[in-house]
């Protein structure tokens, strides 16, 4: 499973992108559970965020959902920060 996160906007307006390929990873099932929960609450279209808030695009195996600060679910927040931290 390939998980991609694109973060745009924010005060600085600087974009960040990272992706994680879970195939072959020891913690793959943990990622899959997190992804399932994060995607369940994602939106099909980009929400209008708050001024200077980050906007997120989460793409998993080609399917994309959108979310924006500060209205992220805990699972979305965890998934996003993990991918941006651990991904390449």
């Amino acid at each position: 499973m390939r998980i991609q996160v694109r973060r745009t906007g924010g005060f600085a307006g600087i974009e960040r992108f990272a992706e994680v390929e879970t195939t072959g990873r020891a913690d793959a099932s943990e990622w899959h559970t997190l992804v399932e929960r994060a995607l369940a609450d994602g939106r099909g279209t980009p929400p209008v965020g708050v001024p200077d808030g980050f906007s997120y695009q989460i793409t998993v195996d080609g399917k994309t959902v959108y979310a924006a600060d500060p209205r992220l679910t805990d699972e979305q927040r965890r998934l996003i920060s993990r991918v941006l931290r651990e991904g390449a």
């Binding site: 906007g9 924010g10 307006g13 600087i14 708050v50 001024p51």
Partner: protein, 380 residues
């Protein structure tokens, strides 16, 4: 950057029934009734002005959130009646600040750590936020006669230490939120006073011109926050237009980053050029206008154009930029004549008109028209 397919879609999808649901962090946490589209607006409006806070609180928050979701709506109009209600502990012409600590979590507003009138504590971040809110309040009051964000003494709430290594600050429709930065690229977002002023000005814009946060009106919304953010810094330092650095976010970038700030109003596109961050993408003129769907249609990118126009006007007029140049911008923001979906040319035209109305057909009007001409924005 290329034109993207992303588009702003505005609809309230948080709920579809007037039932009890967990509220978003923006609504203040806890569980309370959420009134949504199924409740007619006039009922919501009436509820918002109800004497019982149990009824008025959730209704007002619903209106506020709805106003953010549907950026077409003018919060100032909807909230007008409620805004004049007396506020506990607030004196006219005095700030009513509260700083909260999210303690690295994301629940807003967090734990109250400093209320109005309390002495500084040990946390420098809390103290900076408190002082920055005070400076912003003071500029709007003394320079423009505006009593707080909404013009009627609205309390100024800020949350610091939001999340962990959080590289951002934002206005959530009700309050300011500041991250600590990751220490690698960004430092504490309360460090530059113009960042605090920038966030608070988003509140002022929400209650006045309510510029749609997308595309050109979004870039104007951003630019207005940069303009008054910079003016707050200049006012605090007592600087003239010639003395000011015209930078946004100076002191926010970690030492290893190659850059002096996040944006430059004096020379858009030159604030940073770094291996990790990339290069400052801001244009200074319409020739380099960036078409993109990202960043809400480039709101933090194309804001460079109106930012530079303001800089050109302020330096042409000379002296304190918050006086004549700032006054003209403030007049446009609060005139009620600007549409929420105003384009650069609409805003520019309004500034020329505002300059004439306030100062007659003199240097000011001429300097305003010249500044827009230099950045390639047409005035009608």
């Amino acid at each position: 950057m290329v034109a993207g397919g992303d588009s702003a879609v505005t609809h309230c999808d948080d709920c579809s029934m007037p039932t009890t649901q967990p509220t978003s962090p923006a609504a203040g946490g806890g569980t309370e009734p959420v009134f949504c589209a199924i409740v007619p607006p006039h009922v919501l409006d009436k509820l918002a002005r109800h004497g019982d806070p149990v009824l008025s609180g959730p209704a007002r928050r619903t209106i506020q959130r709805d106003a953010i979701e549907r950026t077409q709506r003018n919060l100032a109009t909807v909230m007008g009646a409620a805004a004049v209600a007396p506020r506990a502990g607030a004196e006219p012409g005095k700030p009513h600040r509260t700083v909260y600590d999210a303690r690295h979590g994301t629940d807003l507003p967090g734990r109250k750590v400093r209320a109005e009138g309390q002495e500084p504590g040990k946390d420098a971040t809390v103290n900076r936020a408190y002082t920055g809110l005070g400076a912003t309040f003071e500029l709007f009051l003394t320079a423009y006669g505006r009593d707080s964000i909404d013009g009627t003494g609205m309390p100024l709430d800020a949350t610091v230490h939001y999340d962990r290594e959080y590289n951002n600050a934002f206005w959530n429709g009700e309050q300011m939120v500041f991250g600590d930065g990751d220490g690698e690229i960004f430092l504490d977002f309360t460090l530059p006073i113009d960042v605090i002023g920038h966030e608070l000005t988003h509140g002022v814009t929400q209650y006045t011109a309510n510029l749609t946060y997308y595309g050109q009106p979004g870039a104007l919304n951003e630019s207005v926050s940069d303009v008054f953010g910079s003016l707050i810094k200049q006012y605090t330092l007592g600087q003239t237009a010639a003395e000011a650095d015209w930078l946004i976010g100076a002191g926010l970038l970690a030492p290893r980053v190659t850059g002096e700030a996040l944006r430059s109003m004096k020379a858009p596109g030159t604030a940073y050029d770094d291996d990790v961050l990339g290069k400052d993408p801001q244009p200074a003129t319409m020739d380099d206008y960036v078409r993109t769907g990202r960043d809400n249609g480039g709101v933090h990118i194309n804001s460079g154009i109106p930012n530079h126009a303001f800089y050109l006007l302020a330096t042409e007029l000379g002296g304190h930029a918050w006086e004549r140049a700032g006054q003209i911008w403030y007049d446009v923001l609060t005139s009620g004549a600007l549409k929420e979906d105003a384009l650069f040319t609409d805003f520019a035209t309004a500034t020329v008109r505002a300059a004439r109305e306030r100062y007659g057909d003199g240097d000011e009007r001429e300097a305003v028209a010249k500044a827009w001409e230099q950045v390639g924005v047409r005035t009608l």
